[in-house]
């Protein structure tokens, strides 16, 4: 196996672990590893991450479904919204300032973390 494939496999494995355990968020592990270890530029790393996480989510959904009663009715509005948003995101992606996006995102995540831990 080539070294670059091995690095990609390690990044994917780590992202998969997180993605299955927390039911998402694998991209936040994967993107920094793709830019760091695998040497992809930012934009390529983000787009590649979408392609990698998709099959992982498919597999995890099946496991969640069989092991913990996944409620499809509860999920439906999120799925419909996500469909529209995802389509828009794909279209807008070409002209995006990555750093700006990252900062705002970090603040939201911190807020969620504090709320989950202490309330």
């Amino acid at each position: 196996m080539q070294k670059s494939s091995l690095r990609a496999a390690m990044a994917g494995g780590a992202a998969g672990l997180v993605n299955g355990f927390f039911g998402g968020g694998g991209g936040m592990v994967l993107v920094p590893m793709l830019t760091g270890r695998c040497g992809l530029d930012q934009r390529r790393a983000f787009a590649t991450s979408v392609a990698v996480i998709l099959p992982l989510c498919a597999l995890s959904s099946v496991i969640y479904f069989f092991r913990g009663g996944l409620d499809l009715t509860a999920a439906l509005p999120y799925l419909l919204g996500g469909l529209a948003g995802g389509f828009l995101g794909g279209k807008l992606f070409k002209n995006l300032n990555m750093d700006w996006l990252r900062r705002g995102f970090a603040l939201l995540i911190l807020y969620g973390g504090v709320k989950s831990l202490f309330f």
Binding site: G13, A51, L59, Y64, A74, Y78, L80, G85, A106
Partner: protein
């Protein structure tokens, strides 16, 4: 039915971010657990399902624009499938309160890391050529 529409809007807003690949799913998890009162296990399951149409809708544009590095994606997907199976297995066996605390700790870590990250060399120049 206000809650249904709120869920739709939340999915659409985070869906744009998910389409970028920047963690819309994590934001949606926060929305569901911190605002909509969905328990951690269910929220995680919903979030996984949510990513299927969302990523499915953004991926064609990424592929068309040539931003998906297939050489890197293939081994990452193979190893990722094994990792995600193990992770999902562990999470569905865990107590829901405990899982929620883990999630909070994880968010804090990611938030701090992202906030204090040095802007990387290629970060603000949109289309630096692939190495």
């Amino acid at each position: 039915m206000g809650a249904w529409w709120m869920a739709l809007l939340a999915g659409a807003a985070t869906g744009v971010l998910s389409g970028f690949g920047i963690g819309g799913g994590t934001l949606l998890l926060i929305y569901m657990t911190a605002f909509a009162g969905v328990d951690q296990h269910l929220a995680q399951g919903v979030n996984l399902l949510y990513f299927l149409p969302t990523a499915g809708a953004s991926l064609p544009a990424h592929l068309k624009n040539g931003f998906v590095d297939k050489k890197t994606a293939r081994p990452a997907i193979l190893a990722g499938l094994a990792g995600t199976a193990a992770g999902a297995w562990a999470a569905t066996a865990l107590d829901v309160e405990l899982l929620h605390r883990f999630f909070g700790g994880y968010l804090l870590y990611i938030g701090v890391r992202e906030l204090f990250r040095k802007p990387s060399a290629g970060a603000s120049s949109p289309d630096s050529p692939p190495k």
